[in-house]
């Protein structure tokens, strides 16, 4: 029996300060976390039966079903969209936040977060939805991205959907790294 459904991949691109591609890789993504199942369940049955842990670690009821769970964070917003971090803890379905999120900024240990963008495409037998974001290192020193994830905003709360380890990707000062979560929907 074929394994079909929504298949999840993570793409990584590293660019030099002139925008030239230095490296790229595409890997199977691993961790849909608990919150995505809870959010879908609540949405399907139109109740708040599942209390969900937000990215701060607080367990809250899903506020309402009348707002979307958005991924399209603006530039400089490190609360949701694709996030980058330095945590190296193993991926787990119980993750509710990155291990150690890298904050937006140009200070030491910080990355400048671009906007999270969404694109839709057609694939054989279905559709592709891609969420992407670029992180630029203007901190003055190299930063190694160890983990990435996707967090969504619903009403005023942020929920982690996906978390993956990168294997350690060094981004030198002036360089940038772009990550994309690619969701392939087929029947």
């Amino acid at each position: 029996m074929n394994e079909v459904g929504v298949r999840l991949w993570v793409e990584e691109y590293v660019f030099d300060c002139g925008g030239h591609l230095l490296s790229q890789k595409t890997s199977p993504a691993h961790s849909w976390v608990k919150q995505v199942a809870q959010l879908w369940y609540n949405r399907f049955i139109n109740t708040e039966s599942e209390a969900i842990k937000d990215t701060s670690g607080s367990t809250v009821g899903q506020p309402t079903n009348t707002n979307p769970t958005r991924s399209d964070a603006a530039a400089n917003d490190d609360a949701y969209g694709i996030l980058a971090g330095t945590g190296v803890g193993a991926e787990s379905s119980e993750d509710y936040a990155l291990g150690t999120k890298i904050a937006h900024g140009i200070g030491a240990g910080q990355l400048s977060y671009g906007a999270t963008t969404n694109t839709t495409g057609t694939i054989t037998g279905g559709k592709r939805f891609t969420v992407s974001r670029t992180f630029t290192n203007l901190s003055g020193a190299s930063i190694t991205i160890q983990e990435v994830g996707l967090a969504v905003l619903q009403d005023t709360k942020y929920y982690l959907w996906i978390r993956d380890l990168t294997g350690g990707t060094a981004v030198g000062n002036g360089q940038s790294a772009a990550y994309a979560y690619r969701m392939d929907y087929t029947i």
Partner: protein, 188 residues
């Protein structure tokens, strides 16, 4: 660089069937896995509208509003029109399918559900219904699906979001019943 090969994360549905006594939620046989396929264009558009906060004009699906897979708490035969459905149509499931035809004569129960629970590698939840043939001749079940409602510009519509072929077709004998369970699975 050493790379450890691990399975691809998949968010999917799994379709199970089990025979039952008429109007009973207790299976008289084991649940059998029928398919792990299923999402349609409409489900994609739900997700797209959700994540982007933008209405999907191609499918007329709004970025806001409820999605309901009917979760009635009492036994109903016809009024809960959302949720798990069966059909006797002959077509093969396709991503672009948007229409649904119910199997006439298969009385549907209220929908039951189980909230997210832990499985190896992730979480699952499920919805199920029992379909009873109260007629005097056998019915042929060819498709199963899930219907959800969502707001659209100007109102609310019902959409087929999951569709699976039942192969081989299931013969629902007169007086017989069939439990159809859709498991949503989020695994690493």
């Amino acid at each position: 660089m050493t790379m450890t090969i691990r399975p691809l994360a998949v968010f999917k549905t799994k379709l199970y069937l089990a025979p039952a006594l008429p109007y009973s939620s207790h299976p008289t046989g084991p649940f059998q896995l029928i398919s792990t396929h299923s999402f349609t264009q409409q489900f994609f558009s739900f997700q797209e509208a959700d994540l982007t906060g933008v209405n999907q004009s191609a499918t007329n699906i709004d970025s806001v509003g409820t999605t309901i897979l009917a979760n009635g708490s009492t036994w109903l035969t016809t009024s809960s029109h959302l949720g798990v459905r069966v059909s006797g149509a002959a077509n093969a499931p396709a991503f672009a399918d948007a229409a649904w035809t119910d199997l006439a004569g298969a009385d549907r129960s209220a929908q039951r559900s189980r909230a997210p629970y832990t499985v190896t590698g992730g979480y699952e939840f499920w919805f199920e219904r029992t379909f009873t043939n109260s007629g005097s001749s056998a019915l042929t079940v060819t498709l199963a699906g899930l219907i959800a409602s969502k707001t659209r510009k100007g109102g609310t519509s019902d959409y087929i979001i999951v569709e699976d072929a039942i192969t081989p077709n299931y013969s629902l004998e007169a007086g017989g019943a069939l439990i159809v369970r859709y498991v949503f699975s989020f695994l690493v």
